[in-house]
């Protein structure tokens, strides 16, 4: 047997080629490493048989992260009693020695700023909605609210990292990486995990984000997200250089492959075979990605649904529409970041812009998924890295105020993917300061999402530095059944 056919037969080339694993392989990399006994340094191994015992509802995830921390009491966590507390001090019995950021820890007083917005009840659960989110209110029956999210982090960097990776320090794999690692890709020509950074229309208080938020940590690098960009090439270096049309690229690739085949025959390195395959894959991406990002064929109705902003590249509405197209084509996990929610001051000046950016777009996305029969298998998540304080940071008036970071409670919502529609979980006190019922810690949230995808968070582990590492870390995490349909 010659060496090339040996390599092909043994499938040794498979060991490294898991960027786009085969559609039939629902376990992605996990199963491959086990089969091939790959124990290279740093390369994790996992107990594949144990890790997805549950029937998965969510085959795909679209995670909309609101960078900066939306003010829950101005959006969803209605606190009418606060109207009587205007400019009164937050009682110590409520604050309970809570650590504050150094932006307000020096403040002489903590005067309460009741929400200036009107609220009304919608949907089967009677959920309260701010007047700023009329479209969300319209689809109250689709949403599953968690009003009792909580975290320990009080500043953006550690808090976003915590929300995305289950740990405040950098270096751990993010949720999307875990998902693509576990689920694999359903489309050979597209990555399993895509990230997009939407451009907010108001940029007064944009916060830093970082490529580390979508990295794979100790998982193999190919489970990191591939960023889809809103200007230039949608994927870095996707387009041929000027003056190189497709047929010329094809001709050069043929040249490369012929010579690589000779090298393979002569040297017998399985990696050479992998490279030949990857160059072919790159070529396929060059045609499939432009088709994907070309919205010209979307109907007028689509733009009516998502709003006119969806036509403009880079807007939040545009990225949500693109997210639907990605999921439609088999991408497992789409992460979207929308910035400028960090309202330390001027809530009145910014919050309406923020809500306008996302309100109709979220509605459009969820209705669109529903109309296409995709909502049951697509989990949509919306939320920030923490909440905001009921007391005002800086100047307070009836019409305007600021709010500092608040980790003890905040509101997120989910839709589809096996979540319980039209439901509300968790309660906070009259100050939207402490949770009084059914807390959902970030770990619980992660455990629940994994379960929706079919994974037992206790068993979905990889071996790294001698430990069975998992998204939910070492402390207790609870799968919250009440959030599930």
């Amino acid at each position: 047997m010659n060496i090339t056919s040996l390599i092909q037969e043994q499938g040794l080339a498979m060991t490294r080629r898991h960027f786009f694993s085969k559609g039939s392989n629902a376990l992605g990399f996990a199963a491959l490493t086990n089969l091939l006994g790959n124990k290279a340094q740093g390369a994790p191994s996992t107990d594949s048989s144990a890790m997805n015992p549950f029937p998965s509802k969510a085959k795909n995830v679209i995670y909309l992260h609101m960078v900066g921390g939306p003010p829950q009491m101005d959006l969803f966590d209605y606190k009418p009693k606060m109207q009587d507390w205007y400019d009164k001090d937050l009682p110590d019995s409520v604050r309970k020695g809570q650590r504050l950021t150094t932006m307000t820890s020096g403040q002489a007083r903590f005067p309460i700023a009741p929400s200036k917005y009107k609220f009304s009840q919608h949907g089967p659960s009677g959920m309260w909605f701010t007047e700023l989110l009329p479209y969300k209110a319209k689809m109250a029956g689709d949403l599953c609210f968690m009003r009792s999210m909580n975290t320990e982090a009080i500043n953006h960097e550690p808090a976003i990292t915590y929300m995305q990776t289950g740990n405040q320090q950098t270096g751990k794999p993010c949720l999307g990486a875990w998902a693509s690692y576990g689920l694999g890709s359903m489309n050979q020509n597209l990555p399993a995990f895509v990230v997009m950074v939407a451009k907010p229309s108001n940029t007064e208080q944009v916060q830093a984000i970082s490529a580390r938020l979508w990295q794979a940590g100790y998982l193999p690098g190919e489970y990191a997200a591939v960023p889809f960009r809103t200007s230039g090439d949608p994927i870095l270096y996707l387009n041929n250089p000027p003056g190189v049309p497709t047929q010329i690229r094809r001709r050069t690739l043929d040249g490369i492959n012929q010579l690589n085949q000779m090298t393979l025959n002569q040297v017998g390195d399985p990696e050479t075979l992998t490279r030949i395959q990857q160059y072919e894959m790159a070529f396929k991406m060059q045609t499939s990605v432009p088709e994907l990002t070309d919205m010209a064929r979307e109907s007028e109705n689509t733009f009516k649904l998502y709003g006119e902003a969806a036509r403009k590249p880079g807007t939040f509405a545009n990225t949500t529409l693109l997210a639907r197209r990605l999921v439609e084509r088999g991408v497992r996990f789409v992460q979207i970041y929308h910035n400028n929610w960090d309202t330390h001051g001027n809530v009145a000046g910014r919050l309406p812009d923020q809500c306008r950016d996302v309100d109709q777009a979220c509605y459009g996305l969820i209705q669109d998924l529903k109309n296409r029969g995709m909502l049951d298998s697509t989990l949509v998540i919306w939320g920030g890295e923490f909440g905001r304080t009921i007391y005002s940071q800086g100047g307070l008036s009836k019409t305007n105020y600021g709010r500092d970071h608040h980790p003890r409670c905040f509101t997120m919502w989910m839709a589809g993917g096996g979540t319980r529609p039209g439901s509300v979980y968790g309660e906070t006190d009259d100050f939207s300061y402490n949770i009084v019922k059914d807390p959902v810690h970030i770990r619980d949230f992660h455990a629940t999402i994994l379960q929706l995808m079919g994974f037992d968070h206790e068993k979905f582990t990889v071996r790294y530095q001698g430990l069975d590492q998992k998204l939910t870390g070492v402390e207790h995490a609870r799968v919250i059944k009440e959030l599930m349909a």
């Binding site: 340094q41 870095l236 041929n240 001698g466």
Partner: protein
Amino acid sequence: MLLKNISSLTMLVLVATVVQGAEKLKYNRDIRPILSENCFACHGPDSAARKADLRLDRREDAIKFGAIVAGSAEKSPIIERIYSSEKGKVMPPPKAHKVLTAIQKEKLKQWVLEGAEYELHWSFIAAKKPTMPQNKNASWAKNPIDRFILAELEKKGLAPAPEADRRTLARRLSLDLNGLPPEPSVVEAFVADTRPDAYEKLVDQFLQSSSWGEHRGRIWLDAARYADSHGIHFDNFREMWSYRDWVINAFNNNMPFGQFTIEQLAGDLLPNATLEQKIASGFNRCNITTNEGGAISEEYLVLYTRDRTETVAQVWLGLTAGCAVCHDHKFDPFSTKDFYSMAAFFNNTTQGAMDGNIKDTPPIIAVPNLNDKARWEEVTKALAIVRTQVENRKKEAKGDYDKWLATASKDTFSNRTPTEGLVVSATLKEGKGDKLEFIINKEKKMVDAPEIAWVKGQTEEKVLQVAKAGSVTIPEIGDFEKDQAFSFGAWVLTPRQAFGPLFARMDDTAKHRGWDLWFENGKVGAHIVSSWPENAIKVMSKATFNQNVWTHVFVTYNGSGKADGVKIYVNGIAQATEALSNNLTGSIRTNVPFRLGSRHSKESLQKATFHDLKIYNRSLKPEEVAALGPVEKLVQILAKEQAKRTPEENNQLFDWWLSNMDAKSKDLTTQLGNLDREEKELKGKGTIAHIMVEKPEPSMAYILNRGDYDKRKDKVAAATPEVLHSMPKDTQRNRLGFSQWLLMPENPLTYRVTVNRFWQEVFGNGLVRSSGDFGITGDTPSHPELLDYLALEFREQGGDIKKFFKLMVTSATYMQSAVSTPEKLEKDPANRLLSRGSRYRMDAEMIRDYALASSGILTKKIGGPSVKPYQPEGVWEAVAMIGSNTRDYKPDTGENLYRKSMYTFWKRSAPPASMEILNAPNRETCTVKRERTNTPLQALVTLNDPQFVEAARFLAERSLKESGGTPDSQLDFITMRILSRKLNPSEKALVLSERSDLLEYYAKNMEEAKKLQTFGAHKSDPKLNLAELSAWTMTINSLMNLDEVLCR
């Protein structure tokens, strides 16, 4: 299915072997992996996680507990429990999700029968000189390395691969030692060299090249987590490259490894530390830092110390100490106490928690240009001398001063107030009504001031207090442009420390255009703004003042558009300042009026009180500023009776006399000023270094509960981990003592870990594959005796790094051809036994440098500030905060586009895009081994990145100009540069056919050819045939993407 069958078959065979027990089981080889995987999590070193108070990692504990009775399987509960089928009894318990296999159970049983003997983990036992193995094939070995390698191959019945041909060897050596492909002339000379030591000569040649230090250094910088930005939040620029250049020089000077270690970990603590040694201490300043508003300092100081500790543990000890941050290490005998005791060594620096978003976060030192170094040293010495003279003069001058004081009068000070360029002056102490008198361009003007109050001043009966924001507005004041010099200030007081403008001409509703004088919690500052924050200057005093005391504040600006053109004076004394923004290019003129106590909007400093406001249309000199407010005060002091003057007031008078009336002091001050200026100039031309500075107190740290900064437990002194050899009594308990301890012959890890990493650098993988984890959960060495031999050899040769690499690359093992065989793929699939030459895809930087070097466009320049080559637009912008100075990526021009990739500006939150795709780390934390994946995104980089296409164009051009006229000779020229060889006839046929297809296309599509030849910075020679040039460009683009090129 096939694989499954094989593995169950193997299992049966193994069980049989174990039961028959031909060879006695070894704890490290056979037993520890089973216990570590299945038992230690609950019955291991971690005291917090331990169940039933049973430890199985230590023999005496396991026996004392009664879990193991050595020699008796029946009496040992551990064996009974693992074989139990009862749910509540079986170990590991079902909820642990661990299941022992039949073989594992048998092994444990047999081991207990054999006496349950334990061994210390191999890497904690000091290396022993191994006996040289005997080889059946006695002629193959070129040096001791080969005898160890061959012995293992022979055990498996494998023969080494034949020696690679000379071209392959030249290319491999050049890549491994210099990180670049060899010049064709070097390859040809080597091929033709018939001397017996031709190969060795070539090795020496590469070791002498300055690329050696760059290549080794580039790899070291991953471990050192070197980058050009702070990492967290704003992720602003950090001027750190002097450390990077130190690393390159250290390798090029072949600094012994011991010195290399000590200077980086403790260069600042060496007696009479040199500038270079202090720069070296920057190793511990490469950690990521934050300046996020709201961050709690203690939390970040703890994180920084943790990072330094983990980095040092990983790089020198090969230990993943990070686990012990929260709990005793579950597998390695490394307790939380060990971790924090070791952390104490790195917890004693003066570095603050907030990086200030500045490029030079203290502690830093100035580093002059190489050319200025001699003069720099002279100036530094002269400065010290003159400063002493100034002090001496102060002591001597008392007599002269007293004489003067006896005769001094109010008139002595009169007429010293500068009047040239005085465009606005207002005493603001008239004390009545709601009109203020301003003298504007020498004309008196009464200004309406509806909401003011008159309050008592420091000596004045009444001074102005602005009661309501925006009530005093004067449109004709302060309309300056950014390139105009101007100065402004007044006596001021505010009731409490606060943020806010004292006075301003600024439109804060339109991106803050204009300028202001500003208080920020006791700091004095000024903004000069075109559009905030991206186009503006902001300068703040470093010192804090009490705003509740009358203070004369004054700002001068020289119209340069630069932050260093702004000086801040408090009570006449120039202040050390910080430039928080320094990028002013646009106009600062605005139509809004000048306002007292506020900006254009309602934002105000409450109850700001003023007198003696002055504005000049030029930049006042320091002595002129000193003559403004302070002189007035001196007059008041002088008016007091001598006995009633406070010591501070006496000093003020004396200082004024020294600097204005005493000729000797004035002369010295001039000298000092000149030297200061020269020093600043030299500083300005040079760079800085981030260094370590030790606090005076002993190194201490707190054990933290679960690693939380606010959950302190016991305080611990600096100490090395208990499982390792102890620190000698007379060694200092600081970083210096620690680094000496690392290098002691008793240390079982440092040298093993280091030689293993070096091995990885040329063979692609270490003898221990987990090069960052030599602990119990790490891999075991493929050739343990060889590892020990190399560690001892390296240490005994004085840590001579070049010599060590020479040893590796002159081995027959290294020189093998990479060609595999079916037999080797079966028996040694991952080449752990080195049955053939190693072959692997190059690192990201090498791939780019290869393209630049082989085309000849590479800039060969060592060191200096980092550069910005091509990068797709928006990569930085997508993640950066507005106002971050690493938000807009502006590519450089000229030679900086073609520097080696190690000089590319490394922004941590968005590393160089093409390199990140090729597995370059983000440099946030220490990386001792990169991943090496093979993905389509990587193919897109090397096919389409303009950098690669431009390199191809450049080489195409050269081939047409330099290689004679035929396609055949042109192709030879090209492949000699790209592959260090000519193609064989069948390869040539393929490539030439590709070229002619491409030529046909471009000849018909000249527009496309033009597009291909005109993008990027390099302009193609217009005399060349465009179609031919384009055909070659794309042919070279193909060749540069060959597996043979991408792999070393």
